[in-house]
Amino acid sequence: MSRKKQDYEHSFLYHFRQWVAGNVDPLEGTMEIRVPQKKAAETVAPDLKQIRTVYDPSKNKELKRFNRLYKASSLLLVLLLMGVLIWAMGFMPEIGAEAAPAHNATAGRYVEKGLEETGAVNFVTGMILDYRAFDTFGESCVLFIATICVQILLRVDKDSSWRKGRKTEEAEDSFRPGEDVVLQKVSTVLVPLIFIFGIYVILNGHLSPGGGFSGGAIVGAGLILYVNAFGFEKTERFFTGKTFKIITVASLSFYALAKTYSFYTGANHLPTGIPLGVPGAILSSGLILPLNICVGMVVACTMYAFYALFRKGGF
């Protein structure tokens, strides 16, 4: 039995799972980064008086001159830029002119055939999630990548020296949002309403103004309000880093899978196989509704993840 276990610990799968779970740092000991030993005795306390005189414009003549020059040159630059922009406006076509480059066949096509081809009453959603679905996919991916970058920069590890230096209770306490009775009472009323409104905006994206991005932002704002009122231990019951990973990756991969068919067939407008339904009904317009839900979930998760990372460096 013990031999079996040893085998497992040497297997590729075990290492891979450890790596996925983040228990092992594959770069540890192989990179030429050494943490410098702290030399507490050698640090010299900065001379505050000298620093103050250096950064005080009334005492430092050079800084004063620089400030004046900076103001004058920035004013000049802004005026120059304004002049260039106003001059360039003279070359723009008149508002509503027929020869304007914006008035080509595309807009007319969207208005005339949009309802028939996409089934969405809201033309904007029909455009961004059907004709230009790649564009929206890129936007959702940008949100995901932004979250990952913030996570790289701001995430605080469980065993980091910064955390070790402080007492754990004190560290946890500084992350806890202020417990305020007024905020808690009001958010018990507001948070459900905000969630319902956000879900309504997402689900009605193809029928009325709104859609995944705005609805997701509303849901994310509701989550942030909830955290502020009740603290992280309440949200971590249902939203952790794992939930974030699962939701965003699942949504983005569903989006990618649902739209790759038209990429590999030359980006033509192809039938999805889902019936378009009656325009105006909630279950209509084919793929647009699920794609809207995907985008909404990604946006909501991104908003909450940003807040959690900036607030305490993790979920």
């Binding site: 202020g178 305020d180 007024v182 905020l183 009001v186 009323v189 507001l190 309403l193």
Partner: protein
Amino acid sequence: MDVVKMIAAGSCLIIGMVFFLLCTFGVNRFKRSLNRIHAAAVGDTLGLLFTMAGLIIWRGFSFTSLKLLAVVVFFWLASPVAAHMLARLEVETHEDLGEIEVDRR
């Protein structure tokens, strides 16, 4: 009837705009954060109430005016709490609040 409606709606809108103007002046002119928070809260509550009331009277009672009423209710719930949280943070973190008596609990 239309004239009365028009006058009522217009005066409500003007009163709301005056409150917004006061709010803008206050936010930009006051020196201390607590005063600025107070000025901003005036715009969010009274200014919004009068502006939306004017629009509701103008529009008559329809689904749109119900939505405007919902906006007013939401703001009256949310905005004072936001001002309260800001003021609380200011009182907790600002060391020199000037001549105000604060009941620190």
